[in-house]
């Protein structure tokens, strides 16, 4: 089954074309890594898929359903979760509260005004289990703003996972992390169930080739190459972009 189909998507900001006719298709459970230099349009493509920006033209569908014009929260309710390139958490809340909000969102426990959140045992158990599963149980009571950057990146990923999404968008989850922390995040991604479709933006080639089933390389708003590790490594255009033309 096709999990995500991006069909001829274009996005312009005034006179600037950030995306030009991008077409991508992912089968359910497939893991695609997006490579490309800064400004290639990777994050713009992510924003178009998650709904933070609306594509100027083209069509995006999620499990066969057209989502091109849907707002981000409606897409999330269809089973799409994402992380942000710049850490986007609830800084003044504790790690547990962050995860609780993610679980409530995923289970659509909203507009409940009477019982305190602490009385919803199933939600509390679910959040606690997530913290333990991802080795964050000790940090549960800490405010997110007091965590190290590496820990915040992990919370960012765990929040995206807490609704057991069908499709997960990871925007540079390892950016700015030490090699040891990068390894932990890569391990997290590897541990994810195989039926979860994943699109990941990554600059670290080793991480990219390690995680990906397939790689797409973007440059100046277009997908210029697509294929497995060998195909990308052997592609003349890709090496020109990354290493410069002789």
């Amino acid at each position: 089954m096709i999990a995500l189909a991006v069909d001829n998507v274009t996005k312009s900001f005034g006179g600037v074309r950030a995306l030009t006719g991008v077409t991508l298709s992912l089968n359910e459970g497939e893991r695609l890594v997006l490579l490309g230099p800064n400004g290639a349009g990777k994050t713009t493509l992510f924003h178009s898929i998650s709904g933070n920006i609306i594509a100027s033209s083209g069509r995006i569908s999620l499990f066969g359903e057209d989502i091109t014009q849907l707002p981000p929260d409606a897409r999330a309710r269809l089973g799409l979760a994402r992380t942000f390139q710049i850490t986007n958490l609830f800084a003044q809340l504790t790690v547990l509260e962050n995860i609780l909000l993610a679980v409530c969102g995923a289970q659509q426990l909203t507009f409940k005004f009477v019982r305190p959140l602490s009385a919803y045992d199933d939600i509390q158990r679910c959040a606690q289990a997530l913290l333990e599963e991802w080795n964050l149980a000790d940090a549960g009571d800490q405010l997110v703003r007091n965590l190290s950057y590496g820990e915040q990146r992990q919370v960012e990923v765990v929040m995206a996972l807490s609704g057991a999404p069908r499709i997960l968008l990871l925007d540079e989850p390892t950016a700015g992390l030490s090699p040891a922390e990068t390894l932990r995040v890569v391990e997290m991604v590897r541990k994810l169930p195989r039926n979860m479709t994943i699109v990941m933006i990554e600059h670290d080639m080793d991480v990219a080739f390690d995680v990906a089933d397939r790689i797409a390389v973007m440059h100046q708003g277009r997908v210029i190459a697509e294929g497995d590790e060998a195909a990308i490594r052997g592609n003349k255009q890709v090496s020109d972009i990354y290493l410069g033309v002789e």
């Binding site: 998650s50 709904g51 933070n52 707002p71 981000p72 929260d73 999330a76 309710r77 979760a81 994402r82 942000f84 986007n88 958490l89 609830f90 800084a91 003044q92 809340l93 509260e97 609780l100 909000l101 993610a102 409530c104 969102g105 995923a106 659509q108 426990l109 909203t110 507009f111 409940k112 005004f113 009477v114 019982r115 305190p116 959140l117 602490s118 919803y120 939600i123 929040m159 995206a160 609704g163």
Partner: protein, 310 residues
Amino acid sequence: MRRYLPIIIVAIAIFLALPYLLPTYYLSLSTKILIFALFAMSLDLLIGYTGLASLGHAAFFGLGGYVVGLLVVRGQVSEWIAFPAGIILATALGALFAVLALRARGSYFLMITLALAQVVWGIAFGWRTLTGGDDGLPGVKRPTFFVSLADENSFYYFVLLMVGLSAWALFAIVRSPFGHALRGIRESETRMLALGYNVWLHQFAAFVISSAFAGLAGALFVYNTRFVSPDVLHVVRSAEVLIMVILGGVGTLLGPAIGAAVIILLEDFISSLTQRWLLILGIVYVVTTLFAPRGLVGLYKEHFSRNRKR
């Protein structure tokens, strides 16, 4: 909750005993404090929990008061209709303002709420034949709900009941999943959207709930003073309640109630000395933001946790 139960019981006992302890003047002042405590708590739901700073909250407070005043004085309508009508119309106005103001954020949201509230003030000020203009509407008699609430003691108990129930409801709301979602929206709207929350609808609901309690406070205020004038809608009212919230501690509910008590008592004291109350209010605001940006409750918490660490 259980941890605070003894404190809550003692507080309720003190509030119930006040009419037997205080002379009439100070009992009337206590009634006023309770009313403004509710007004400040209603604003805190919006500012402290949802992260929407409104400078037009007097519109709902004032409309609640004006509807009661107009229906009682001009319409000779029963309090059983006038009192609920004040709250309902304030809530409806809140829904209208929310739709208009929620298109903007931050200081733009603040400016729109200020502008909208000024429109309501302008109507009350200018429509002399209906509202009496800046002379106001005297002679709003206090209601009879099963018992007459005309004297200070019974009216105090009525206000205590209304404010107590409202405070209980507000505390329940901020602890509920809805209240937690509001905090999430305060921290990051884009993250809440990515988690599948309808952010706009949450903000709208918070705005409407907040204006309902502000309307209730306004209706009680007008019954308390037996008089309504454009003062209740004035931007100074909005600023004053904002300072109550900031002085007490944003996002704590209890803090704004304490802030209301401090401001009302200070105003009462200063007014006996000088006419320059607004100047003093401004100084209070500056001093708070400089030395206690998290308000009195924040100050207490910082001091308390520092002592505990030692």
